[in-house]
Symmetry: C2
Subunit: 307 residues, 2 copies
Amino acid sequence: MTIRLGLVGVGKIAHDQHIPAIKASPDYELVCTASRQGSVEGIPAYTSIEAMLDGEQVDAVALCQPPHVRYDAAKLAIEAGKHVFLEKPPGTTQAEVVALADLARERGVTLFASWHSRYGAAMDAARDWLAATTVHGIQAVWKEDVRVWHPGQEWLWEQGALGVFDPGINALSVLTALLPRPFFLRDAVLEYPANRHAPIAADLTYTDATGLPIGATFDFRQPGPHNWDVHAQTEAGTMLLAKGGNELWIDGELKTTEPEAEYRGLYARFAGLIRDGGAVDADTVPLAHVADAFMKGRRVTVEDFHY
Amino acid sequence: MTIRLGLVGVGKIAHDQHIPAIKASPDYELVCTASRQGSVEGIPAYTSIEAMLDGEQVDAVALCQPPHVRYDAAKLAIEAGKHVFLEKPPGTTQAEVVALADLARERGVTLFASWHSRYGAAMDAARDWLAATTVHGIQAVWKEDVRVWHPGQEWLWEQGALGVFDPGINALSVLTALLPRPFFLRDAVLEYPANRHAPIAADLTYTDATGLPIGATFDFRQPGPHNWDVHAQTEAGTMLLAKGGNELWIDGELKTTEPEAEYRGLYARFAGLIRDGGAVDADTVPLAHVADAFMKGRRVTVEDFHY
């Protein structure tokens, strides 16, 4: 049976990723949208989730708004008996995701906290390759131009927003999925523009119980092409997991050919959870790492940022 | 069989709480200490945990040092096959506690992340009383004079330290144990002395999926007597859980008579976990709330603090 889906928050990520993935999937029918401004041609458009839930029969909703309004929308939807797909990060705190998961279990509906980079086309190959060798060190480097990837998005810089951890949490979702052991922060430096409430760059030093050197560098100030890369030095050679989990290179040679299909993977997983009787998949570990960095990290002030 | 215990970090909390509780317990023999400066009369004293583990046969260690050195000591002890008791907070990040729990399970030893206020003498009575009525609002108020409770403790203010959340996490350990539903932060203000890296006060507004108003106020600048109180307004009257979980008052009348015995409770629990084949009890939820507050909270600068 087709899942009747309502899409909430029709902005950049909805147009770039959600709508194409939903249209390509046999599992879903996109029946309506709710957004203050955006809409999808030919589909009923509401300006609030309340009006959408009143006006249309939907089985599930996908929430793509900025994270600070996601909890209230998710709660409304769960209490209306709808399955809920959360864009990343799933909330502004770990605890609100835990509260939503608790509520979803109580109501018997699916809550899916999605981490799209974990569905990168080369993730399984990279995990298997690392598991078969001895790793000496691993570093995630997530650098991009915020003006290109988040044009004009003032919410990213507001009090309580994640700043560069918004893309950086993708790197943490990848590292936590790649490495067999839990890792933890030894040292962190967070760079705050003097005129902003959220970091524009972060340098993070992690390790695990074996003492493995693990690093992560995030920067929103990279002009030109972006890097969403994981580098590893191993007994069997050097690994580069490039393009946010989508290409595996070993010693400079490309080893994978699968095309990027992250959101198709996410929507297939969401449909599976719904068909599994309303199962909950709400991993907060990447967000716990971000919260740890804010708790333990050193703040330094850098020059103003303007779009 | 008596558990041979080594005590690591012989400072204020060790003298005030751990040593009396260990001496009063039939479960333990205190066989040695490791501390840069402190010691216990009549008991072999080492200046490092490494020397202590080399020099004495112990079954378990209790770690009472400041949290920033706790991970390395715990890892050493677990890898030496010792059961580990962690003072609160159990680490400087959530992730390092998760890593220790993972390692303890791998080695088959107990890891106990202790939350002493949860062992307050009136905690069960308060939980039962709240569960039997309708709660309209609940507030934790933890205010004390840092000069009295943490005299000269510079580590409290260093980068990555918790400041007023060091006592405040006790309040969060109590609220998370009292309330049946997960709650989450709506708004937070953290006050930082201009000359310090950690907050001296915090005002936290929480709620849960039912919309219950939940508040927490922490302050290190209270002269005179301290408050470690939880107030609740309910259908059945007003509740005051006073003295850090040790006295239950309903409508101004004291309802409990059990004396405070938090650390006796903790050490009984630790012995139970050890006898249960090396079970792990490492709840990180109170620390997750603290990390959420650092991630989401607004920082304001207040006047310098000096001891």
